[in-house]
Amino acid sequence: MSHDTWQEQLRRGTLDLAILLTVSEGPRYGLAIIQHLDAFTDLVVTEGTIYPILGRLTREGLLEAEWVEGEASHPRKYYRLTRLGAKRLADMKGAWRAFAEKIDRLVDAADLARAARRGNT
């Protein structure tokens, strides 16, 4: 697996979590979600492909969507986290922190071992 493919898989695997985190702060419409993700991450490569993910998360009952008219010159579709979505997000956050912590420990151990080897030579 190439470095690019690995990064791509990592990006795709974390996109659901990033979207749920973005919406957990309050209801947001599609473009606002994309802009928020852009401000903090480089997870959005093609803007239009975020909408199908929002649709899937809605079908899975993690988000609920509502069209709002009159707020701008065009209607906006707002997404908010459901109770099920909040529960899933809490699970995902816990799993992510545990996962990241373990990988960090592994990286630190490898770095320490390499430094020790250099010290011995």
Partner: protein
């Protein structure tokens, strides 16, 4: 930025292609909702853009960032039709997903062609197993002038055809039919899984 008539036409063209692509695999109300949301995104981006002399370049930049309509449609497909097929592994959703890829992509067309041959072959074997008890004299190994030329059902038998094979044809046909069906189904699911991973966002 306020779009000129040419700019408006470009946006309508984009949405038209997206709608036509989505129509091949999504129900009408879902297509309308998806197109409405993408249109809302475009209007929002256009409204937020500062007026520039080169409207065309500014609009193309917005459309490029959104992604080509076929790419967006493929992402919808990966998240919906193909997702259902891969996660459930059921026969009908897999057929629907394969059909949708076959009519929208070249790779999908040739893969569907191969899978179609697999499904037809498996059904042919299973049909032979079902027909053998009903037409025992018409189902079996066909010999022409003493040489075996094929396994199948023949209605009516031609005078120079010799059909051999007892009821042992049934378990062999069932074994081959189910084996090819399971293999084809697994191949279809693996193909759809790879496709979904490649075309999700």
């Amino acid at each position: 930025m306020t779009l000129s008539e040419i700019g408006q036409a470009r946006v309508h063209g984009y949405l038209f292609v997206l709608r036509q692509s989505l129509k091949t695999f999504l129900p009408p109300e879902t297509v309308s909702d998806a197109v409405r949301e993408i249109e809302s995104h475009l209007r929002e981006r256009v409204d937020a853009a500062a007026p520039v002399p080169d409207e065309r370049a500014a609009l193309e930049k917005i459309l490029n960032e959104l992604g080509p309509p076929l790419r967006v449609a493929q992402a919808y497909s990966a998240e919906r039709t193909i997702d259902e097929a891969v996660t459930t592994g059921r026969f009908v959703p897999i057929l629907r997903a394969i059909w949708q890829l076959a009519v929208t992509t070249i790779a999908g067309f040739f893969t569907a062609l191969g899978l179609f041959v697999g499904y037809i072959t498996s059904f042919a074997f299973l049909a032979l197993a079902a027909l053998k008890p009903i037409f025992p004299n018409n189902v079996g190994v066909q010999y022409v002038r003493g040489y075996p030329v094929g396994l199948g059902a023949h209605f009516p038998l031609s005078p120079d055809t010799d059909l051999r094979g007892g009821y042992w044809v049934i378990p062999i046909a069932v074994f081959c039919g189910l084996g090819i069906l399971v293999g084809t189904q697994r191949g279809a699911r693996a193909f759809l899984r790879r496709w979904r991973e490649r075309h999700r966002s």
